[in-house]
């Protein structure tokens, strides 16, 4: 066997062995994880592969890097043939890959892709070395630059190889189909063939060598996603976004204490993280100065899994390994503050091109932390109130329906008589004195629309959405059971609520077997059908804030916009709108927690964003917590004359009046903003 073939074989097997060993170790660590069954619905999964892997779907949310990566991906896939060819030609001299090796158009495509990839790499290097975007902070920069350089070398060496080959083998089919390679060949054409031959070998070994080294690096870092991404996307969670899965229990305790208590499926997520930082970029906790970065969280989990997996699998556990085993996942690897900082707004899960779930491990860790009473006192006080009184305000359940006293027409008690629609009001809308008027306005509009609705009055309890997100599964179960016991005795066909959090859990986690609507959907329906007669067009210019649990979680973006259009308002979108909407900061139970370490509140950040829009007078919300947060934010940011926060119901009620009122009662503000 020729020396070269032997060397190629040796190199190949060496690389394969290292790659295989590293791959095996990580797979072995994954086997420590808990069972999971992300299978079934294969048609949906194949569709995901096509859209999100082949077509690189979510990558284009960041257009320029997305385009570059599109070429990296397709370049890699198509040029893989050339690597294969190089390998086989090395082992079997004179080997020609059947069909693929001689197919002209494919060769052309490879040439063009090599150029595209090279441009992409230069752009990538430019981003990393010159632009240094915030989202790369914390990612392994060295590895990033190294791999980009590798790819550059692989591309250039390929072109040079092809060019030299053309020179050496004379004009052929190849030179027609591979113009770029021809150009590369021009670099060497003046050299004597005796020089070009060894030069070709050099480029060959550079090309193959870098590829084989790259292969060995793959499992160890962020480029592992090259292998795992198709699996991660194909096996993604197809449950409704707003549905949390319960944690497995260990020794009667719920939640995750050690990394091996996560499922293998969660671990696969971490191996797939390419450290692109898009999640970090859109995370409201990160941007407000809290210690959470979804990217860094996933990277920590991955690194810790490797460390602990190694220690657990080691035959003999020496001192160093013992120390590793004693490391606490939350406490030593990840701090408590990181776990509590999350607002569960879903921006990270929405943004991730590889469908990594960030909220899922956070909630699992919270479940564990609560069993250890490792949460701030204010949160625990709120939980104690919720457990005793069924609401987070610590008020008597007998006061829940006190807001109804301001109404002219009383509302049906759905416990006593049937109604078409059950209005599940929610804690904030019921108990917050600042929101009483809006709740009453909602009742009046429902009445005007002729909706046959009723309330649970005192029997309603907190629906529990945020209790789950905070990790108090048991209390969620308790409240859900109480609510369902009451609901089961009532007769109704559908449920409506004004609170997106309540909406989310009733729709996705309660198994109501009846439709659940957000009031904006009901308003949309009522206006479209003519049951809600709009008397006048308001002509306001305004911006609409998409609530996290209505928009990203449940896909309701258009109904509220249609309502606003129907009442004659012009909606000017904030840069971060629809599924890029910035969370107000109240979610994930954070409204019950102490505010520590915040540099800029999300609410204030958002108001500044809105105030920067020309001519916008109103900031429209469709959630009682948003109302609370943004009203305060307008004051603290000092934008009181400039922009007014309104609930969509206030505008609808205004549009139902034939005559405009003189001074609108908007709770604390004395004048309209100047236009």
């Amino acid at each position: 066997m020729p020396i070269k073939a032997l060397l190629v074989l040796l190199a190949f097997f060496a690389s394969l062995a290292v790659f295989g060993y590293r791959l095996y170790r990580r797979f072995d660590h994954m086997r420590l994880g808990q069972p999971a069954s992300p299978f079934g619905q294969w048609d949906e999964r194949i569709k995901s592969l096509v859209i999100f892997v082949l077509a690189q779907g979510r990558l284009f949310r960041f257009p320029a890097p997305g385009l570059a990566h599109f070429f990296f991906f397709w370049g890699f896939l198509i040029l893989f043939v050339t690597i294969l060819r190089a390998l086989l030609e090395g082992i079997f001299p004179g080997f020609v890959l059947p069909w693929l090796g001689t197919f002209g158009p494919l060769a052309l495509l490879q040439d063009l892709l090599a150029v595209a990839v090279t441009i992409g790499v230069i752009y990538g290097l430019y981003l990393r070395v010159v632009v240094k975007p915030e989202r790369y902070k914390g990612s392994h920069q060295g590895e990033g630059i190294l791999v980009l350089s590798f790819v550059l070398v692989i591309m250039l060496s390929l072109l040079c190889m092809n060019g030299l080959r053309q020179n050496l083998e004379g004009g052929s089919v190849a030179s027609v189909w591979q113009p770029v390679s021809t150009v590369a060949g021009l670099l060497f054409v003046k050299l004597d063939k005796a020089v070009q031959r060894p030069l070709y070998e050099i480029f060959y070994w550079i090309h193959l060598g870098v590829v084989l080294v790259f292969l060995t690096l793959l499992p160890g870092g962020k480029h592992f996603h090259i292998i795992t991404a198709p699996f991660n996307v194909a096996l993604r969670n197809l449950e409704p976004r707003g549905k949390l899965l319960p944690s497995p229990q260990f020794e009667g305790l719920t939640g995750v204490r050690n990394v091996e208590q996560f499922t293998w499926r969660q671990m696969l997520d971490w191996y797939t993280c390419s450290e692109c930082g898009r999640c970090q970029e859109v995370c409201p906790a990160y941007s407000s100065g809290l210690p959470l970065s979804p990217k860094l969280l996933i990277m920590s989990l991955r690194a810790h899994l490797f460390e602990r997996g190694t220690a657990l699998r080691a035959a003999r556990k020496d001192g160093l390994l013992q120390a590793l085993l004693e490391k606490r996942l939350v406490g030593d690897v990840i701090s408590d503050d990181v776990v509590w900082a999350c607002m569960t707004c879903y921006a990270c899960d929405q943004e991730c091109p590889l469908f990594i779930e960030h909220i899922s491990p956070i909630v699992d860790l919270r479940r564990y932390l609560l069993t250890q009473q490792r949460a701030d006192a204010m949160l625990m006080g709120a939980l104690a109130n919720l457990r005793r009184y069924g609401n987070s305000f610590g008020k008597s359940d007998r006061q829940r329906a006190m807001w109804t006293r301001g109404l002219e027409t009383p509302i049906k008690d759905i416990r006593k008589e049937p109604a078409q629609t059950l209005w599940f009001v929610g804690d904030y809308a019921s108990y917050s004195p600042a929101l009483t008027e809006i709740t009453q306005a909602t009742a009046r509009v429902f009445q005007q629309a002729g909706i046959d609705f009723g309330l649970l009055y005192d029997a309603e309890r907190n629906a529990g959405n945020d209790l789950r997100r905070v990790g108090e599964e048991g209390l969620f179960e308790l409240l859900m059971t109480k609510n369902k016991a009451v609901l089961d005795k009532c007769r109704f066909k559908e449920i409506v609520t004004t609170d997106p959090h309540t909406y989310n859990t009733l729709k996705n986690e309660y198994d109501m077997n009846r439709p659940v609507y957000h009031y904006t959907e009901v308003l949309d329906r009522a206006i479209a059908s003519g049951r809600l007669p709009i008397q006048r067009q308001l002509g306001y210019t305004l911006t609409y804030h998409d609530p996290c649990y209505l928009g990203r979680y449940n896909g309701i973006y258009d109904a509220p916009r249609r309502v606003l259009a129907a009442i004659g308002c012009r909606v000017v979108e904030m840069p971060r709108h629809r599924d890029r909407s910035l969370c107000c900061g109240a979610g994930g139970g954070r409204i019950w927690m102490e505010e520590k370490g915040i540099k800029e509140r999300s609410g204030e950040n958002r108001i500044r964003e809105a105030a920067a829009l020309d001519g916008v007078q109103y900031f429209v919300v469709a959630c009682p917590k948003d109302m609370t947060i943004y009203r305060d934010a307008v004051k603290t940011v000092g934008q009181e004359g400039r922009i007014v926060v309104k609930d969509i119901i206030e505008l609808v009620e205004e549009a139902l009046e034939a005559q405009p009122k003189d001074c609108h009662n908007d709770g604390g503000l004395s004048s309209y903003p100047k236009r």
């Binding site: 009667g252 305790l253 609560l370 625990m380 610590g394 048991g474 209390l475 179960e477």
Partner: protein
């Protein structure tokens, strides 16, 4: 250290309080009872002592209605024994409660009894002081810190102005807890549910209640204040304007 924590259930002040037809007692039909807040602190202090120095914690209460959840929650927090005294108890005063707890306590061995230094509905002394008197044990109240020290305990007793007196008490003793060293812990519902399945509440039948030693109540009513604040009506905006005017008038805004 073996510690007993008697818990008293008291009216929840979050609810409206009504006077009954007799005009001399609270209307108990819609009354909600909750564990006395300072008894929660006493339990917390007891659990802290157990965590630091070992021993057992026993929780004791009269079965005035919905007490099971509180007892199971105490188990989930770390109590070793929970005992409820069964019987018919309507509107007992503290002397009566102490008389019912007394025989039960005599059958328990303990180093300390920790209980709240007072309860919102006390009219005839606090439970802790009455138990101490009956058991002939030393009592110190308004405690915010407890430290065991060879055969006795040193306590931090609160005086006005934030001054603290450190006193040493011989054991066994009764302490009236004002506040535990940490706020009462919250234990997750799943652990309480678990306690409900695995723990057992011991039941002891009550003896005869003796309510002597207290005064009779001739009349109970909601106070009509001699004076009442002048209320400013309107929305926060209007209230703020009125307040600014008031403060200006009183020379408080210079």
């Amino acid at each position: 250290m073996d510690i007993v924590v008697p818990i008293k259930f008291v009216p929840d002040l979050v609810e409206e309080l009504e006077i009954d037809a007799s005009g001399a007692a609270l209307d108990r039909t819609f009354l909600r009872l909750i564990p006395n807040e300072q008894d929660d602190h006493a339990l917390e202090q007891a659990l802290l002592l157990k965590e630091r120095h070992g021993g057992t914690v026993t929780v004791l209460t009269l079965d005035t209605g919905d007490v099971d959840e509180t007892l199971f929650t105490a188990v989930a927090k770390g109590a070793d024994r929970v005992i409820k005294i069964t019987g018919d108890f309507a509107g007992l005063n503290n002397h009566a409660i102490a008389s019912l707890l007394h025989p039960v306590l005599q059958n328990l061995s303990f180093d300390l009894i920790l209980t709240g230094t007072q309860a919102v509905d006390d009219l005839d002394g606090s439970l802790g002081t009455l138990l101490a008197a009956r058991l002939d044990l030393p009592y110190v109240g308004y405690i915010t810190g407890v430290m065991p020290a060879d055969g006795n305990v040193v306590v931090r007793k609160e005086y006005p102005g934030g001054l603290i007196a450190e006193m040493a008490i011989r054991l066994p003793a009764v302490l009236g807890i004002q506040a535990a060293e940490k706020p009462p812990r919250y234990v997750v519902t799943s652990l309480v549910m678990q306690a409900m399945k695995t723990a057992r509440i011991e039941e002891i039948e009550a003896g005869q209640a003796d309510s002597r030693g207290a005064a009779g109540v001739a009349r109970m009513f909601r106070p009509e204040a001699a004076a009442h604040a002048e209320m400013i009506e309107g929305h926060p905006d209007q209230v703020a304007d009125a307040l600014v005017a008031l403060l200006k008038e009183r020379g408080l805004l210079s």
